[in-house]
């Protein structure tokens, strides 16, 4: 059932308010899950479960939150993503905005890739294709 971006955003917003115990005005499109909304690792799993339920989609392990990039030595060097690593990550996450990572591919900044908008775009790609 196709949904507009607005509707997806509202539903994702509600999911994050429930999962993270934040107010809805804190859940803006650019808010980062970890930095701005205080999400921890178990919250990411909870968010996946809730998104699957809200949107009736299946989110295979590693599709939304890829967990193998940082452990691959070809992708990371001296705390930064290599060009191969960056390309690989972009291919794995076409729904994320890599503008800031392209300017500074510091792996400690990777959590900032996960904004509310990243989730909205991911859900959009799953339900509207």
């Amino acid at each position: 059932m196709p949904m507009s971006r607005e509707d997806i955003f509202r539903s994702v917003q509600e999911t994050l308010v429930d999962a993270l115990g934040v107010d809805d005005d804190e859940v803006s499109a650019e808010a980062t899950l970890k930095g701005d909304l205080g999400a921890e690792s178990i919250d990411f799993l909870d968010i996946v479960f809730r998104l699957e339920k809200s949107f009736s989609i299946k989110i295979p392990r590693g599709e939304l939150f890829p967990d193998d990039v940082l452990s691959n030595p070809e992708y990371v060097e001296n705390g930064k993503l290599t060009p191969t690593g960056l390309e690989s990550l972009k291919a794995a996450m076409p729904f994320a905005d890599f503008t800031k990572m392209e300017q500074d591919p510091d792996i400690s900044k990777m959590p900032d890739l996960f904004t509310v908008d990243t989730l909205v775009r991911y859900v959009d790609s799953k339900i509207n294709t």
């Binding site: 178990i42 909870d46 479960f49």
Partner: protein, 170 residues
């Protein structure tokens, strides 16, 4: 040390729903610890009671092959105090279960009155803990713990029976 926060099961539907009960007693240490002189069942231990009820439901759904640990309390609220003499009932329902873990919703009854809600999130720890190592054996579902479900399944009556008419003694 025995860490039982439920006394037994009243119902168990594999993969769907579990109902456990607990009798609150004056002789339990913990009812006197929260507010000295004012015995009350600590809410955190009612959350643990629900965690045990729901945890066994989640574990049994995969034949206790997984190490199921409580990872997140999604929601916990209680609308009244519980005191010695009260009887608690935990009704846990499975919301979702997969390789990574499970989510449950739960209602808490005191003396058959709905007074609480506890929604939990469990992790299947071997599948989840990014490189951490855990012991091979399932340290979650110990023999002591499993005896609660075994008693229920064997038909051993831990739930209260309807009162019988007293026979004449003459």
């Amino acid at each position: 040390m025995r860490w039982f926060w439920i006394d037994g099961f009243e119902a168990f539907e594999s993969g769907r729903r579990a109902v456990a009960f607990k009798n609150v007693s004056q002789s339990e240490e913990h009812v006197h610890d929260l507010f000295p002189g004012f015995p009350v069942m600590p809410p955190v231990l009612m959350i643990e009671g629900m965690a045990q009820t729901a945890g066994i439901l989640v574990g049994e759904a995969r034949e206790f092959r997984e190490k199921v640990i409580l990872a997140k309390i999604r929601l916990a609220r209680f609308d009244r105090r519980v005191v010695p003499g009260d009887r608690l009932r935990y009704v846990a329902e499975m919301e979702i279960i997969n390789d990574e873990g499970a989510a449950t919703t739960g209602e808490v009854f005191c003396n058959d009155q709905l007074m609480g809600r506890v929604d939990l999130f469990f992790s299947h720890v071997d599948k989840n803990m990014s490189g951490l190592k855990f012991p091979e054996e399932n340290f979650v579902f110990t023999k002591q713990f499993m005896s609660l479900l075994a008693s229920f399944r064997s038909g051993f009556k831990t739930a209260p029976q309807a009162p019988q008419k007293a026979e004449s003694l003459s």
